[in-house]
Each structure stands twice: as structure tokens, then as C-alpha cells.
Symmetry: C2
Subunit: 343 residues, 2 copies
């Protein structure tokens, strides 16, 4: 690693952050080209199907340079997908060295560093790798754990009830809290709720027009209890039933997440109810916990949690963010493994 590698990679990370959700399902990548200690070109991933970051930066070069260094936040791809392989454009007449934050984790796109190295270009890998992972934590989790990045959402009274005993729950949090939750739906590939939530609340599970897209609806129907006149059936949901599920609820979570990985859903938003959320918590198969509290109390009702944890068991949660919606509050917890150290 050279003295200024981290400085230049930090500039490439700033480029990566300019990429928006339109790059999806590709990760957000940034690239810069350095000549003689000066940044002479920059680029970030374009809308899906468009140029990758390093291609943008190379095309931006306005005259013939030699002995340049390319800094890129993810290993350049070696496969011809929607665009040509990025490695083809990395020319040893222009570049003497390529610095990479993280190796590609998508097996279809990997192998670029080896190809570049075979051209006689020197490779440095692992610069600012933690910060680079942070920008694409859903993407990395998806490929590393072979499951979607799972976000659990709870709307609760101050004392942990998500509904009255009869299932009434629609109005615990206020309108602003609910809008914030609808926006999260648009921000995820798929949304899942348990059977009882469909029966009790009959939700639409759309983003209510508050985002660019609606998530794919994922349902569990172990005992054929769902009525296909329920609102969710207007949106062509994926229903998991006893053909692949069993009465082992924790095992079912694993099976469903495996299927969703195979179907390329990078993120899953789980909105309840208490039983479904508890299974995700107890199997530790989640990445974020979003909890909304309304200033209400009830001595009995449906609890947000009915799992196996005890008070002194750790949930490994890091408090990431607090938001206020009038008198409601939203707390965002990240699993500690997603708190990337600065490097």
C-alpha cells in the first residue's frame, strides 16, 4: 500500500455515494484515476444497464495518459453482462497500478483482478475495505450470507404491545410514522408478514405511492388459512405453504430466506406480527431492527416478542439512528456486525 492510497480511495468512496438506487441490483461503486499525484478523472456506477464506475472514469479521460493509477471501490468485473467487461478497458498502456477496496463477491462478476494482473498491471487490494462494504451492506450481506438483507419492523405501545388481544392494531402509531414505514417498503425488494397479520389487518403492503416501487409480497400460509380475496392477492404475492415448510418455524425462516436468495431478492422487510418477528430474532437471521413507539399503554394485547431470549441475552444491537414523528419515535438498530470500523 502506498502512502496516499487511503486518501485517494476515500475520494473514490465519495464518488460511490453519488450513485443512487437506480443502479440496483448492481452495487454502488466509485472510481478515480490519479496521474502524477493528481486526480484527473472520476466516475460512479450509472443506472442499471449503463456504464460501471471505472468505465465512466476511463471514458472521461480527456487525453492520452501513461502510468496512471486507478482507484476503484470494487474489483472491476470480468464478465460481459449488460455491459462489456470492465477489465477489457483497463489498458496497460494507460495504467501501471489498480487499487481495489474489496474483491467482487458476486461469483458471476469476479476474477477481474487476476485478468488485470495478467496484463502486467500491479494490483493493491483491501484499501478502505470496511468503509466500502458499508456503502453496499445489503449487496455484501446477500452474497456473503446467501440470503436477503433482513429488516424487521415493529410498531408498538411503550410497553411492547403491537395490537389489542382481538388483533386491532392499525392505529398504534401516527400518520407520519406510518408514512415513514411505507417509504421503507419502497426501499426494499420484498416484504413479508405472517398469516395472522393478513387475517387481522388485511393490509395492502404497498408503499402507498410514497416510493418508486412496491416490494414483492411474501406470505406464509402453513395451514391454508389465507382468503384469496385479501388485499395482498391483488399484487401477485409469493406464498410459502406446507409443500416446502414444516411445523419447525425457525427452520421455515431458513428455507424461505434460501428461496428468496435464489430469486435474487437482496432485501426483505418483515412487518410482523409478533410471532413472525420473534422467529427472525431467535434464529438471529436479521440485520436491522426498526422499532416505532407511540406514547400509548395497554396492560394486555399481542406482544411484539414471544420468543426465547432472556433479559441478559445479548441481541448484538447497535443504536444507529433515532427519528421523531411528532410524539412517536423510531429507533433503528443495526446488528453490530454491520457497524464497520473506519479504516
Amino acid at each position: 500500500m502506498y502512502e496516499n492510497d487511503e486518501k485517494y480511495m476515500s475520494a473514490a468512496l465519495l464518488e460511490a455515494e453519488k450513485a443512487g438506487p437506480e443502479v440496483y441490483p448492481n452495487p454502488k461503486v466509485g472510481a478515480i484515476i490519479v496521474f502524477n499525484g493528481e486526480i484527473i478523472s472520476r466516475g460512479h456506477t450509472q443506472e442499471y444497464g449503463g456504464d460501471h464506475a471505472e468505465v465512466v472514469a476511463i471514458k472521461n479521460l480527456n487525453k492520452k495518459y501513461k502510468n496512471c493509477t486507478l482507484f476503484v471501490t470494487l474489483e472491476p468485473c470480468a464478465h460481459k453482462g449488460k455491459t462489456g467487461a470492465c477489465t477489457d478497458l483497463i489498458d496497460n498502456k494507460i495504467f501501471k497500478r489498480v487499487v481495489i477496496a474489496n474483491l467482487e463477491i458476486n461469483p458471476k462478476a469476479g476474477g477481474g483482478a487476476k485478468l488485470i494482473s495478467e496484463k502486467g498491471i500491479s494490483i493493491t487490494e483491501g484499501v478502505c475495505s470496511q468503509n466500502a462494504k458499508k456503502i453496499n451492506k445489503r449487496f455484501f450481506t446477500f452474497y456473503e450470507k446467501k440470503r436477503p438483507y433482513v429488516i424487521l419492523k415493529i410498531a408498538s405501545t411503550l410497553n411492547g404491545f403491537i395490537a389489542e388481544k382481538d388483533g386491532q392494531s392499525k392505529w398504534i402509531t401516527n400518520e407520519k410514522s406510518r408514512s415513514s414505514s411505507y417509504q421503507m417498503r419502497a426501499n426494499c425488494d420484498a416484504i413479508m408478514v405472517g398469516t395472522n397479520t393478513i387475517i387481522n389487518d388485511n393490509p395492502s403492503l404497498t408503499s402507498h405511492g410514497l416510493g418508486k416501487k412496491d416490494p414483492k409480497i411474501i406470505l406464509i400460509d402453513l395451514k391454508n388459512k389465507l382468503d384469496n380475496k385479501a388485499n395482498v392477492f391483488k399484487h401477485n404475492p409469493i406464498v410459502f405453504s406446507n409443500d416446502i415448510l414444516s411445523l419447525n418455524h425457525s427452520k421455515n425462516i431458513e428455507i424461505i430466506l434460501k428461496k428468496l436468495f435464489d430469486m435474487s431478492f437482496q432485501s426483505l422487510f418483515v412487518e410482523g406480527g409478533g410471532k413472525t418477528l420473534s422467529r427472525f430474532i431467535d434464529t438471529n437471521l436479521f440485520d436491522e431492527l426498526h422499532i416505532y413507539y407511540a406514547p400509548k399503554l395497554t396492560a394486555s394485547g399481542k406482544p411484539l416478542y414471544d420468543g426465547l431470549k432472556k433479559i441478559n441475552d445479548t441481541l448484538d444491537l447497535h443504536l444507529d439512528k433515532i427519528e421523531q414523528f411528532d410524539n412517536d419515535i423510531k429507533i433503528t438498530y443495526l446488528k453490530k456486525e454491520h457497524v464497520y470500523r473506519n479504516n
Copy 2:
């Protein structure tokens, strides 16, 4: 009311806010003197036993003025307490008008406006009264409701449990959260917990050296269950027992608060347990709710609330403040009646 009365009273309120906790049990008061449209003197309440705000301002006047206006955030006192009556110093040779935010609510000190008026000085009352009450909300609540200002404190898991079933609860929140709570103890006149909290936790209920004073300890012992070897008995607590209490728990809260009013405790910090807190919530005899959440879950245990409220019952709570202590959070709710409008 004159055109600039609110402007000058706002300046007097800024003075009031300069008074610190050392003025207690007096309220924080500010005064300014205006001559010919110019503020020529200022003052605020001094340490208990020292000069009141208007006295400071009058003593600060550096030469003989006539036709001045005095703006004071609370009616000047008419009684000779620790100091002389303030009204004695308000001279009709100097002052033509006195503007007051709120009339004195302590019956022992009231009546000043009438005495001033009898000197031929004109009186305007009610300017910025809501903002002036906000600065002394404990003081006003104490005299208006004839009970201490009550702050309920809860430390809970995310799902509303304050202890395991066997009573184990000491370590739900982290050290920083607990320190914040010890500071609140020092900031209140009295602290109260229920019988079971003493038996299960054996707390000291002091401020652990994190404040200038320890609150007076108030205990309930309906059935003579408390062991006088418990830590709290080192601090000479006040114990309410069945000589004045009955099995009507809600009525007991009223009786205790009335006694504490008679004993001049302006504020009471209630630290639990769930049953005690629930009685205060259900009788609506509280002013603030401080709730700490640690990122923990348990499916059963001692609940923070076991009262009568239903999900759709309003608690009339306003979210006043959110604080973060590492991965714990503290939410401060005020009863909406304490959210004073700007005026």
C-alpha cells in the same frame, strides 16, 4: 398592555433563566427596569435567603430615575420572609408602572400587586404568562395542584419488561443510563419506590455522588413487609403504612401526594416498580414520564405497566426530548398541559 411589553418581558425572562437551582424552594424570577424605552437595570433571584429579582434590579439602579417601568416575571412578594417584602422597595417616586407575567401562586407571598397599586403605581398583569410558567413548572404545579411535580421513571427492555419474573432487574440499562437517572435523583426533592422494589433490588436510592444532594426517600409499606436492614433505612426514609393508607391503591397515591405537599416537597421522582408506576399513570397524577430502553428482549417478566389503559386511550403525552446513552435511549414525555404555548 403597551406595544413593547412583550419585548421587555422577554428580556426579563432571559434574566429569570440565569437563576440556578440554588434559589430553591423559591422560583426563578427575572426583572428589568425600563426608562425612556431603554433597559437601565436587570436582576434575577439570588441564592435562597438572598435578594429577589426586583430587589437586585432596584439596587443596581445607579442614579435617581423617575417614571420608570418595572418588568418582573412573578408578582413582587408582599411578605417579610427570609428577606424584606419586595413591595416596600417599589417606590412611586421611581416607578409609574409595574408589568407582571404571573401573579404569585404561593399564598404566603401573594398580594403584592394590590399593595403596589395602592401606591398609585399602574399594574399590568399576564404578559408572557405561559413562557414564565414554563421556567417554574414544578413551582406552579406544586401550588396549583397542591401536590409535588411527579416524574415517573422506567427502565425497560424493548418490549416493556423491567425485570425477570424473579425480580432480577438491576442491569437492564447500561452504566451511562443509570448515571443519568442518578442525576435526576439529585434534581428532585423526593424519591419513591414501591415495596417490591426495595425487597427485590435493595437499592440505596441516593444520587451516588452525581448531584449536590440526595432526594428524601419515600416508601410505601402497607403490610409491614420492609426489613429495616434494607439500604434505604440508612437514609432516614419517610414510610407510609396502613395507619393512613388502605387497600385502595389509587386513593393511596392521592393521600401520599397530599402529605408530601404538606411537607413542602415540590418534586417527586418515582422509580418503580411496575405496580407503583401503573397507579400513578391510571390516576393521571404525574407530570413527566422518563423511559429508558435497552436493546434487550424477554418474552416474560415483570411488566412496566399493569394498569387499566387500553391501546386507544390517550395518555396526553408530548415527546419533549430524546437522549442516547451508547445503545440505550431515554425518552422524556411531558403531559401536554406542560407544553406551554409561546405568547
